[in-house]
Subunit: 249 residues, 6 copies
């Protein structure tokens, strides 16, 4: 099966981190293809940026969905996820969603641990949008600046481990998610230093996308995730206009 | 004071409906200026369309916010509202938000009554995003087709009144909101045929925008609605790139 | 329009604070009239006092409602509000309600900051009664005694500003409400020392009462806020007996 | 032990119904004394009436609490309960509270079945105020007029039984509460015609008041139910003024 | 009346503690009979142990229920309670349930204070299973080892009092429950050192079981607590097999 | 990898249904081994049966866990799941849990559709125990008797399809779960007759168990799912006694 790893950020370095975490998780027979956002922000971190980055993700999917069996929106706040699930026929999985649902099978409450204060509010609303607030032990964020978002997982590794341990001892977390695309792949390096299961967001997303493809579920033609009725869009990319229009099946 | 009435839909006819409802509500001294989305959808009705329409709303605000004391995002699902509230210094009010908060002062639970089945899920998530689910008596939607979205309030007036009355008798609604931009102005025409207060979404939004301007509240420089840190955007409109960048105060 | 500012406390000094905050917020054409409770407590601070103070507020409204277009119950816990909304035909706004709903348009979660520990539980139940617990960042209360409730805003100004700042940094509040009738008018003096929007409860209540009058909403004759069926009361004030009886329209 | 059965309604006929249900439930050694409200409404049914009736209940308790080991506020919406629990040293139990908490030990979700539409909203807010909404299967109310509130349980017996059976089959109620002071004593007469446990509100209240007295729990001097700090009240009854003042222990 | 005090733990010492607390609470005419689990764990403290201990409680009840008017499952997490309520015709009360519901009549929010960290998660899920999370101020647990579970209330008395006081000052608890069967009877010894009402779990359970018997409520034959349909069990104790089978009334 | 498919029911016929659904879902390299409960009930359907069946599941796991990389508790209410997750080092997945979490990635709200009224309450509490009530559109159950629990999916196929369609049109379900072990494998047969994605519970459980093994997450040694401290059990099976005791790693 072919799975699209869609990075809605414009940083190629983050895409590389994502793929480095994704590849070892993929089953034999799974082909992963990465795509970096052609426009938007180096790293989505706020509601405003997610509004735009999510729209960019829809554009990217409109152009490429036909070549894949499933897609992963590989940013932790899942920008554009619910719209994509309406608009396209293939399964689309959010990286936050996959990490959180996987964590639910490993304990009662999970902690989200990330590298920057700015990410907290967006992540919090992401948890709420999935109806999982009751499973959240808390969100912990590092203070302070970092040199490069692509390498922040190396620079802050020890601080992130300490923060994860605090989430266990102070917030009663049963599971830890190291969250944010730049932290993809970190879980495997540090899991022996954290006394509860640590979920890697990207690896979890690969397994969940594979699971949905294997289950051969159909696209809804009823319910709230059926495809929107055709309508004429103005000023959008060609593939997006086509996808919203009557012409494409 | 100058208030921007931003229609994130591309239908000029809807803008006219909105302004016809807005003008009688404005205080002496309030100048209302309408703006219709230059790109997007004739009428936003789904999550996917709201993702894109909300991004278009941010573009429109980036270009025009400097000329206004406040802005109203005049679509019932409030596309782009929370991002706009982060990104700009002027107060930004959502039309759904204004209608619902106003309704809260008129009873315990409000009903949302609208003209098309497709709108229900998006409106429901809008209510949730404002944390007002506990105040919602229910969402009622008409079945069936209509001729023109700009004139649906005339075509379906009697059916909408009947639906509103059902919301009162069946769902125990204390207040009714006739929801969706195409229904702007309808409340005034039908309020004598509905036995509870009926809130006009556009009129409520004008009063709430005026209230926020009068209260002279400051823009947050802390908390989760402070302006996002400057960052280099790629491929966005000039004003939007500038607003996210370091150059503009 | 004529708006009644009903202080359910017996302190004339608090009424003066309330009016000093209310007048600058009123639109041209709005006449504000103050009324101080003729019986009850100098300052309502507990559930027991609110039970009685709310009944006094209904008495006051029964006597005076006919002369006004709207009324504000100007104590932060909104004593008697929901009963008044049932019983009278004019819009009645609670000062806490107005402050909280206004704060909702300025951020995600608001903090309530007040001057005495005793007020916390009552305010907390007030937030719950409005279904806004999900929007509350927290309630912070000063410790310690004060000299005069009418002047506590001067005496404790600096401590209240520090508490508001704590609410921002510790509780992630996006908006601050300086709560309790004795703090009316303080927001304007201190807003430059608090990095998020600060809502003045009294000013917000004036704007919301004006908005409801402008919107010309009707009194419910159905739903849970219709006027109670006529019944013979014993031992209540004349106007209140009349309002519950069959004689008055 | 001596228990006060405080009827906050002015109907002597309801007091008699309450006592007829209370006496058979009392343990040997329990003395029950009834008190009918000297002022207020024949039968409290709305928020406005409960605001006033609850204040009257506090007046009655201020005068009589010294003669009793515990008190029951014998109206289903528990008017004045939380204020009474703050203000007095003896245990005070609400009749709705006692019925609902007892029902919780007999199943997962209870239904409230009552004789008049007007009572629904007030009862619903009572359930919310106790934090028991999650345990509520639903509230069912008879339509239509009745001849005498004191005899409504005889007049409507069969219809109430049918409504209770509907609550079981349609709302999945595990337990039924026949609610409203005029229905006191009905449970025992009809329990063989309802296939789940039926709780008598008055009998439950007697057992719960006895339980609290037996447990010899102390009055709080901390927490949110400590007695309010002394303050000078104006225009209240002598015993109430004294209870709020510094003079009485 | 005869009430079974069923200790689902195998520790005879705990049974003695339970009975020492139960006897003084019993009314004249109440006969209490203790039963200690014949198999299982000395002291249930985790989900896994409660799964098994709850099944053992059902076995014990299957053998003995016919001799009693009511039963108490005397472990704080209420192992097996909801199954027992389905399976048997007599009222069955959980010790945690009885303590919590009793506490609800003494304040708004109760604290659970216990002697070991391991108990927290199980107790938390117990509170959730009763739908009382909104009434919980918090769970506080002692750190550190103890010598004997049967005597831990003597060994840790002062530390538990301090923890209870912290629950009042830090968590705003209105009521304290000293939780866990080994703490039965402690409330009475320490209540003068804690400034809010302290509920003894065992004494509360006795009063609630007595109340349910006095109220003469019937066994459900409909709803979700009706007796399970007869079915052939394999490999269970004789009385349990009989109770699930068609043979026993 | 080796995955244990643990049927906590004693019906061999159900085990065969489960395996027939499981095998096609397994990846190359996954070995599935079935185990039928040696004692308990032919088909668990109530709280009482789940209490006992869950204890039996722990016994079965105690004996066999050492031979497997993961285990599935293959009954829809997940009997014993949380205890198993504490007690054993391998990942343990519940069949209901797996189905519901998978459904969460295919829409907003899922419906549970099953073949017998008796199952509703237990399933409802299962959804609550996973904190997923907000994602539940509703539970729909067939009325009426069936001939054989092992063949009920054939006998009732058409009625179940109709019920699933009702869940879509009446309850606004975005996804359908055909729930209860006897329905394993039915999803694949009927998915073309239901207009939203249909999740097969057993297939989903296989994919989720494979995912957890692939992710190589560690066993918690802290948090609420660490292994219970060693303690001496009495009267349990040898392997279970050993697992709770100090002797086994």
């Amino acid at each position: 099966m072919r799975i699209l790893v869609l990075n809605p950020n414009t940083s190629q370095g983050i895409t590389e981190r994502l793929m480095a975490a994704a590849r070892p998780a993929a089953a034999a027979g799974t082909e992963l293809v990465a795509l970096t956002a052609p426009r938007g922000f180096p790293y989505i971190a706020t509601r405003a940026e997610a509004q735009i980055g999510g729209a960019v993700a829809l554009e990217m999917l409109a152009q490429h969905h036909g070549d894949f069996d499933a897609a992963i929106i590989a940013a932790f706040g899942d920008p554009g996820l619910f719209g994509a699930r309406e608009l396209f026929d293939i399964p689309v999985v959010g990286m936050a969603e996959a990490a959180m649902l996987t964590a639910c099978m490993l304990g009662k409450r999970f902690a989200i641990v990330t590298f920057a204060q700015a990410l907290g509010p967006w992540y919090h609303e992401c948890v709420e949008s999935h109806g999982l607030t009751g499973r959240l032990a808390g969100i912990r964020m590092l203070d302070g600046r970092f040199n490069s978002v692509s390498d922040v997982q190396d620079e802050k590794e020890q601080l992130l481990v300490e923060l994860a341990n605090l989430a266990v001892t102070e917030d009663e977390a049963d599971v830890v998610i190291l969250a944010g695309a730049p932290l993809a792949g970190l879980a495997d390096k540090v899991k022996d230093r954290i006394p509860v299961p640590v979920v890697d967001q990207m690896a979890a997303a690969v397994k969940q996308a594979e699971a949905l493809v294997s289950l051969k579920v159909r696209k809804a033609t009823a319910g709230t995730f059926r495809r929107p009725a055709a309508k004429p869009a103005i000023g959008l990319s060609g593939p997006l206009t086509a996808r919203f229009g009557p012409g494409e099946s």
